[in-house]
């Protein structure tokens, strides 16, 4: 590994973290972990933007040209972050209640188990050529082509490809997929000095770690004690399918899960503490979703609609909610959701509409109960070893903490958002032709994965006030855990 490759990691991380601190300078509990976690994903997205703008003509040296842009940006955001830090004051730090020795040992063991996982993931990525199907059949085709050619070439539909006379257009089965990941891969390939798959895939491990760090930090900011935040991070990090998506790197679902999770976390902070900077971050991460994967459009619409709904005064909410339900119910039989699905499709040269990768909404047009899909969905969520006890524990936690959920707006609104997302997945997998993906245990888990970090967030925060007999108290005595700043 060279210094260039090291720089390819450090520069986006530093830029992203500095940008986070420039936007959100508050030194609340967990701010360091949040800055690193958000910084990693934000930095990678900045890499994608910079590489796609300045490096198309010379992809082999993307690290040099895009790196210069990032360096300039780093200087600017670091200056802003430094200045805003001076104005923002210091973190509210309080003494922590010392834990009994056995609890400290138990927490250390949980942490070590996460580190052990990360070590296995790192070796898996490091040793193996690109493995999972869509990684080599879809996601890596564009960046490998661009990098090995030394310049960007357009990817078009197959008829267009056949129609071109000079053979300078390219095609692939997933030619219409968004390009953010492709540019990130070009960045790392240019830093590695070749199409060296392990070095290009290692960022998936970085993203896994960033996901856990950002959640750990934000959960503390939202009032979870450090101990409970660590237990919740263990719960999130131990989910088998999450580790698999890091170990078998190359899919976009972990990126979507992270961006969606970060957006929800920031939104919750805005709802709870009224920090506008966090709302900006929530909107930013919602807006980048479509640039990562097609279904990002659906999640982005859900998130932005929820943000808008959450910003409404109380008296408007019930009216808007009823109107939305009526509209949704009316649109389904009328096929009106076709309009929403246009973004998932492609207008061909002859004006016809192709939908090579049907977005979830596009499939709603022909709703029909799909026998067999329910069994597949139940088995994959409750019986297969993909999610540990996550789906078993969700109903009892919701029932147990129902009063807390309903009484706190900053918990209720994200829960409603996740309920809507779950309902869309429910309709998709039980009522459309996508039910085959539930019966074969395929796409269902990957789509569920995209909302799982946010789901764990809601469950973890529902349990933040639970007071067990002889259990630990909040580590932040300056904050009353029962208070609701919103």
């Amino acid at each position: 590994m060279s210094w260039t490759y090291f720089l390819a990691w450090l520069l986006p991380l530093a830029t992203g973290a500095a940008a986070y601190l420039a936007i959100s300078p508050q030194r609340v509990p967990g701010w360091r972990a949040s800055a690193v976690g958000y910084g990693f994903l934000g930095g990678m997205l900045l890499v994608a933007v910079a590489t796609s703008i300045v490096a198309p003509a010379n992809t082999a040296h993307a690290i040099a040209s895009a790196g210069l842009c990032l360096l300039l940006l780093l200087a600017i955001v670091a200056t802003v972050a430094w200045r805003r830090r001076d104005q923002s004051g210091t973190a509210s730090s309080g003494g922590t209640v010392p834990l009994p020795r056995w609890q400290r040992a138990a927490l250390a063991t949980l942490f070590v188990s996460l580190v052990a996982r990360a070590a296995i993931v790192a070796r898996e990525i490091w040793l193996r050529p690109l493995y999972p199907w869509d990684a080599w059949s879809a996601w890596a085709v564009k960046p490998k082509t661009w990098f090995l050619l030394g310049h960007h070439v357009p990817f078009v539909s197959m008829p267009e490809w056949l129609h071109s006379t000079h053979g300078d257009l390219y095609t692939e089965v997933a030619w219409h997929y968004p390009n953010a990941l492709a540019w990130i891969e070009v960045w790392f390939a240019s830093a590695a000095g070749g199409w060296i798959e392990p070095l290009i895939n290692l960022p998936w491990l970085g993203l896994w770690a960033a996901l856990l760090l950002a959640h750990h930090g934000q959960w503390q900011s939202l009032g979870l004690s450090r101990t409970r935040a660590l237990v919740a991070v263990y719960a999130l990090g131990s989910l088998p399918l999450l580790s698999v998506h890091a170990a078998l790197a190359g899919y976009a679902d972990l990126w979507i899960a992270s961006a969606f999770g970060f957006s929800v976390l920031s939104w919750m902070r805005w709802l709870q503490q009224g920090e506008r900077s966090q709302l900006c971050l929530a909107i930013f991460f919602a807006l980048v979703l479509p640039w990562l994967k097609m279904e990002g459009w659906v999640w982005a619409v859900c998130l932005l609609a929820s943000f808008g709904f959450g910003a409404l005064p109380w008296r408007w909410r019930s009216t808007v909610a009823i109107a939305a339900i009526v509209l949704f119910a009316a649109l389904i039989p009328l096929g009106g959701l076709h309009l929403l699905s246009l973004r998932a499709g492609v207008i061909n040269a002859d004006g016809s509409l192709a939908m090579p990768a049907l977005g979830p909404l596009a499939l709603i047009l022909d709703l029909k109960w799909q026998p067999g899909a329910f069994k597949g969905a139940t088995e994959t969520l409750f019986a297969q070893p993909n999610w540990h006890l996550l789906w078993w524990l969700t109903p009892p936690v919701l029932i147990w903490r129902w009063r807390a959920l309903m009484s706190q707006d900053w918990l209720r609104l994200p829960a409603v958002l996740l309920g809507i997302c779950a309902m869309l997945l429910f309709i998709l997998f039980l009522f459309t032709s996508a039910s085959a993906w539930a019966q074969s245990y395929t796409a269902i888990n990957r789509l569920v994965l995209q909302i799982v970090p946010a789901w764990v967030t809601v469950l973890a925060l529902l349990l933040r006030d639970v007071d067990f007999p002889a259990a630990e108290r909040s580590t932040d005595p300056t904050r009353d855990p029962r208070s609701d700043p919103a």
Binding site: D134, L148, M158, W161, H163, V173, L248, Q384, N386, S440
Partner: protein, 395 residues
């Protein structure tokens, strides 16, 4: 005190009922099977590969030239339904290999295979009744071994440490097979597969109700409820107990997953560790496709072709070919022609078909698959790879 004493048999009853239900043992089954068909290693004949008899064990030293091993034993009119439980012990089995049960059913040509849990060093017990293939009259039964599909490069098993087939046994259900069965189902090694990115568990229809997670979750839930009710715990204490039980169950499942994750990873270590990136890249699970891609790229360069259309009967193979050919301008032949049926293929297009159903007719100069046809000129043929150049005439 009395309540605590009552709790112990209640907990035992809960777990015994759940384990038995999971293992699918009928209530009227005997404790041990009254009759069984037992085979020692000596009873197996080596059909593919090489093996020797040591004591009563069959020691497999090598596979055939295609990397397959097969050992079978003759049976006389055995009804599959009567013997649904298979137990076997194979020791020193290399972790890069996959094991399958092969059996001949009723007629001579009706040969079936069922993928089996990889034996590490213990006894494996499998309920064959959950497989639809296990029915009728079984005339021959055996084990097949090969490089784990879509994971292990076949070249890595050119030589391997010998393993030994110690014994195998077919029997009716019995109570003493409950724990071995659950152990095999719950703790058996499952290799990485292309499906792993979607789900970690076994594929659809390969496991019955013996899934570990529901049994543990139900057992933990019922145990917690029994403890709360019998010990009359106050509400807060009951909530704490249930949380502890949930936490412990989660950790148990996670330990199992970590062990599985590590075992999966050990295979990857054994194949790739200590090798340079160039060597690792050459060790693709489908090494042959990589070699074919090299041939196609060379021919395209010789022919001055800017674009290549690729086909194979297996989507896996043609998509892999396209990936290996990059940055050559390659696309799938059939999909491209289907999406643009009215367009003629330009003359600069090379067509590479590998292990494909497309047939070339010398007399007409047409390459077709029964539905689609294209005028071509043959350029190259070697084994399953055929390369043509488009004649640029309308399809």
């Amino acid at each position: 005190m009395i309540r605590r004493l009552i709790l112990i048999p209640v907990l035992c009853a809960i777990w015994i009922v759940l384990f038995t239900w999971a293992a699918g043992v009928p209530w009227d089954a005997p404790w041990t099977a009254r009759e069984h068909l037992a085979f020692s290693g000596r009873d197996f004949q080596v059909q593919l590969g090489e093996g020797t008899i040591e004591l009563d064990n069959l020691v497999i030293n090598a596979f055939d030239a295609r990397g397959n091993g097969l050992q079978t034993a003759r049976l006389t009119h055995v009804r599959a339904e009567k013997y649904p439980i298979l137990r076997y012990r194979i020791t020193d089995f290399p972790n890069v290999l996959e094991l399958a049960l092969v059996f001949r059913r009723d007629t001579r040509d009706d040969v079936q295979t069922i993928s089996l849990p990889t034996p590490e060093n213990g006894e494996i017990t499998v309920d064959l009744s959950r497989f639809s293939e296990w029915r009728g009259e079984i005339n021959e039964l055996g084990f097949a071994e090969y490089a784990t599909a879509q994971l292990v490069p076949p070249s890595t098993i050119a030589s391997f440490h010998p393993f030994r087939i110690e014994w195998a046994q077919l029997q009716p259900p019995a109570w003493d097979s409950v724990l071995p069965r659950l152990r095999s189902d719950w703790f058996g090694y499952r290799p990485w597969s292309l499906q792993s990115i979607n789900t970690i568990g076994p594929g659809n229809g390969t496991l019955g109700r013996s899934w570990m997670m529901p049994i543990l979750a139900l057992g933990a839930l019922l145990s917690g409820l029994a403890a709360c009710l019998l010990l009359r715990l106050p509400r807060a204490r009951a909530a704490a107990v249930m949380c502890w039980i949930a936490g412990c169950t989660w950790i148990s499942l996670d330990l199992r997953w970590l062990e599985d994750f590590f075992t999966k990873h050990r295979v990857i270590e054994s194949i790739y560790a200590g090798k340079s990136w160039a060597q690792r890249y050459a060790l693709q699970p489908d090494e042959e496709t990589l070699v074919v891609a090299g041939d196609v790229a060379r021919i395209a360069e010789q022919q001055g072709a800017k674009r290549v259309l690729v086909d194979s009967s297996s989507p896996f193979i043609f998509l892999r070919l396209i990936y290996f050919l990059l940055p050559l301008n390659a696309a799938p032949l059939e999909q491209t022609m289907r999406e643009a049926p009215e367009m003629a293929l330009p003359e600069d297009v090379l067509i590479a078909v590998y292990a494909s159903d497309w047939k070339y007719d010398k007399a007409t100069g047409l390459l077709g698959n029964g539905e689609l046809v294209v005028f071509v000129k043959p350029v190259y043929e070697k084994g399953d790879l055929r390369v043509f150049r488009s004649e640029g005439v309308d399809q």
